[in-house]
């Protein structure tokens, strides 16, 4: 293990997670656990009222997540000048300024927008896309993340700043099938379509073969001797091109500029509100991996969002809406083709088949 070491290495202080209260806005500390209700005076602004009568206004703004220190310092400048020196970040990399004085809200918004940070992302808007690494940093990506998100948010900019969707819209993108971005109302994920191409010269040195064999979900990999060297072999008929073998064995190159496509999933929901949480479902695939702006992906995402906006009733998340109108109508209204690949044949597939005469005509 090559240790990045100073001359006399310092033992770490295992301090763990710091206490948040030292960084929290004082009005939050004072009213901790004592909030009564909230409303949203305008998009991008939350207004929380405490049982004590105290109030705070939260102004939410979008960021690019992967930020240079200049951007962060600018966000700090704004906090110091207009917002009492405190901020927090949301799980979607939006920044939140909390102020105890309503009069500070308008100037704060102005300062943010002037500096290029859109104010919005609250309530029934389309908030920031959950973000992964991609070509910038990951060792296994099939596409970029920051770039896809930038091009997507450019397109959804106005919807971020408005609250005009039926309910909140959470989108995620992921640069390989692992999908660190997670379940979402809409998810954009790499879907490989060709088995890994193996560099047999490297396998013996780089890969723990039994571990790689165990990693394959369809048992398509077996140990083999290739050119007299221990390597691995893939049964290409069985292989579902998931890429799970690639991280533990980089010589099993799964990424392909042409054949690593993008798929679109809809209807994931983690909240327990109304129905139980639901997994997202694949509804489109075969979209080209087309940097720097992935127009084909954006077109489909836009089409789905547009249909949802026009058709769903208030408070219906993507999943609720489709449950009401049914899948046949979803494909009809969005104009997406329903191909055989969308019919589940994985473990437990049975649960996803229509075991009823509930039919939409």
């Amino acid at each position: 293990m090559s240790q990045a070491q100073a001359a006399t290495p310092r033992r770490p202080i295992e301090c763990g997670v710091p206490d948040a209260k030292q960084y929290m806005h004082p009005t939050l500390v004072k009213n901790f656990g004592n909030w009564k209700y909230h409303d949203r005076p305008r998009p991008g602004v939350l207004h929380h009222v405490s049982h004590s009568g105290e109030e705070v206004w939260t102004v939410r703004a979008g960021t690019q997540r992967q930020m240079d220190v200049y951007t962060i310092r600018k966000l700090c400048d704004i906090a110091d000048q207009f917002a009492e020196g405190h901020v927090r970040f949301t799980i979607r990399s939006n920044i939140e300024y909390i102020v105890a004085d309503e009069k500070k809200v308008a100037p704060l918004i102005e300062a943010l927008e002037k500096s290029g940070f859109p104010v919005g992302g609250t309530g029934n808007s389309i908030t920031m896309v959950a973000h992964t690494q991609g070509w910038l940093h990951c060792d296994i990506p099939g596409t970029d993340a920051s770039g896809v998100v930038k091009s997507m948010m450019d397109q959804l900019y106005e919807e971020f700043k408005r609250e005009e969707m039926p309910n909140r819209v959470h989108i995620s993108t992921s640069c390989c099938e692992i999908n660190c971005g997670g379940q979402a109302d809409i998810a954009v994920i790499i879907q490989h379509t060709k088995p890994p191409v193996i560099n047999h010269d490297l396998v013996a040195n780089v890969c723990e073969r039994p571990a790689v064999v165990a990693r394959c979900p369809v048992a398509a990999i077996r140990p083999a001797l290739v050119n007299g060297k221990p390597s691995l072999e893939v049964d290409e008929k069985k292989c579902v091109c998931c890429g799970a073998c690639f991280p533990p064995c980089p010589p099993m190159q799964i990424n392909d500029p042409e054949h690593s496509k993008l798929a679109i999933w809809v209807g994931g929901k983690n909240a327990n509100a109304r129905g139980k949480p639901t997994f997202m479902k694949m509804v489109a695939a075969g979209l080209p991996n087309n940097p720097p702006r992935w127009p084909e992906v954006n077109e489909v995402v836009g089409r789905i969002l547009h249909t949802y906006k026009a058709d769903a009733r208030p408070w219906e998340r993507m999943a609720d809406w489709i449950e009401r109108i049914g899948w046949p109508r979803f494909f009809e209204k969005t104009g997406l083709p329903f191909t055989k690949y969308l019919i589940d044949d994985w473990r437990g597939a049975r649960a996803n088949l229509n075991a009823s005469t509930h039919i939409r005509f």
């Binding site: 997540r65 962060i72 070509w135 909240a271 109304r274």
Partner: protein, 430 residues
């Protein structure tokens, strides 16, 4: 001393458009750092060739086994030399954030300064697991940056087969739905597993996540091996003034279509004031002089919907705590898993309560360490051994809340039925 920029026609495209551009940020950094000039060069190459060029390796700080994600370039020229030599190493330090991701500007500026000195100047706030990701550092500088950050009172997060960095929602700090002290539970739990974070030795990763209510703003049900999600046991609280205010603004149609009709169990009903039921399990609130909402709390499954719509007018009860779910994860190997409910309710008010939560986590982690196969998550392990075997392994009693329905097949060996019934009866009579 600006190094000359490489041509980046693809990336340049991402500077247009209204959303804040990470490319503009990278270019700004590149003005002062050759390191970032070359980083842009490699990234532009990826955009051209549609290929990634990083590989892993092993880099860590003294005393810890994890927390740094090492990246070495694989983009080499014909001589096997890095095509963009200054950016040949681009490691990330994962730093655990404060619960709820609160900061003051002072601490943020300190992070910036340290990272400008030792790293690329690029910081992701935050990673999908919640880490402050200090992205882009040479092997040489990792320890230097870490030494300065550690003394700020921050610690490295998880990577590899380890307990991972956690997240908790804003919660009690600003949210009226909060059902327990999320930041405290988060901190106490995680700080009891520091050894498992810093010295990866588990079968695979293990994630805790903390959401203050069933809205689950941390996505914990699907992204945590152990999800701690707030809920309550007693009757919902109501506030007539806020209820009437809501109704005055939204009217009857919205009340019926957006609230009553969307209750998953029909626990909430619209009633005329004169017809409202009284009873131990009833919460009722007038929305006007004539009409009333009536909730039978025994039928309510605490989904949050009506409370979300009529915040304040309806609110969680007073007897608050959390439910525990286990086994959520993404898709690898067997497909996505949601967490399964294994503790319907536990109080989390006091230090002792939180100690019990830590104990539960420990028991679970021990069982996981002993029983999971390599690269197997808790959810997969439970799928393999069965929920009951897992419950027995960690010493929890079964409860019908754990199932969406009892078994629909007869494939079970049940010699011990009478014994189990006797145990249950004995307990009920005790």
């Amino acid at each position: 001393m600006a190094k000359e920029m490489h041509e980046t026609p693809n990336l340049d495209e991402l500077e247009s458009g209204p959303w804040p551009s990470f490319v503009t940020g990278l270019k700004r950094l590149a003005k002062d750092k050759g390191y970032m000039v070359d980083l842009l060069g490699q990234l532009e190459t990826s955009y051209k060739t549609r290929k990634g060029y990083w590989k892993g390796g092993t880099v860590s700080v003294f005393g810890y086994g994890g927390g740094v994600i090492p990246r070495f370039t694989e983009l080499k020229d014909e001589n096997g030399e890095p095509a963009f030599p200054e950016a040949a190493e681009f490691h990330t330090l994962r730093i655990m954030p404060p619960p709820g991701m609160h900061y003051n500007t002072d601490i943020l500026r300190k992070f910036c300064d340290i990272w400008e000195r030792h790293g690329s100047g690029l910081i992701a706030l935050h990673g999908q697991s919640g880490d402050i990701m200090l992205q882009g550092c040479t092997t040489e500088n990792v320890q230097k940056a870490w030494d300065e950050i550690n003394v700020l009172g921050f610690d490295l997060g998880g990577a590899g087969p380890a307990v991972r960095t956690s997240m908790s929602c804003c919660g009690a700090a600003r949210c009226e739905q909060s059902c327990y002290n999320e930041p405290e539970a988060h901190r106490v739990v995680i700080n009891n597993f520091l050894d498992d974070i810093h010295r990866p030795a588990l079968p695979y990763k293990f994630k805790f996540k903390f959401s203050g209510c069933p809205n689950d703003c941390m996505n914990s049900i699907q992204r945590a091996d152990m999800a701690v999600i707030g809920t309550w046991r007693d009757n919902m609280q109501t506030d007539e003034a806020l209820a009437k205010k809501w109704f005055a603004k939204h009217g009857m149609n919205e009340l019926v279509n957006d609230v009553v009709a969307r209750c998953p169990t029909k626990a909430i009903q619209l009633k005329e004031v004169k017809d409202v039921k009284a009873g131990d399990s009833i919460s009722a609130v007038a929305v006007s002089d004539t009409h009333c909402l009536e909730i039978d709390n025994r039928d309510c499954v605490r989904c949050m919907h009506c409370i979300n719509v009529m915040t304040g007018a309806l609110a969680p009860g007073k007897d608050r705590g959390a439910a525990i779910l286990v086994g959520g994860k993404r898709t690898l190997k067997i497909g996505d898993l949601m967490g399964t409910l294994i503790v319907p309710f536990m109080k989390l008010d006091t230090d002792e309560d939180r100690e019990k939560l830590v104990e539960l986590g420990k028991t679970m982690l021990d069982f996981f360490a002993d029983n999971a196969l390599e690269h197997e998550r808790t959810g997969e392990m439970i799928e393999r051994i069965g929920l009951v075997a897992f419950l027995e392994g960690i010493g929890l009693e079964v409860d019908p809340n754990m199932v969406s329905q009892p078994r629909t097949n007869p494939y079970v060996r049940m010699d011990g039925w009478d014994e189990e019934v006797a145990k249950i009866n004995a307990k009920q009579n005790a």
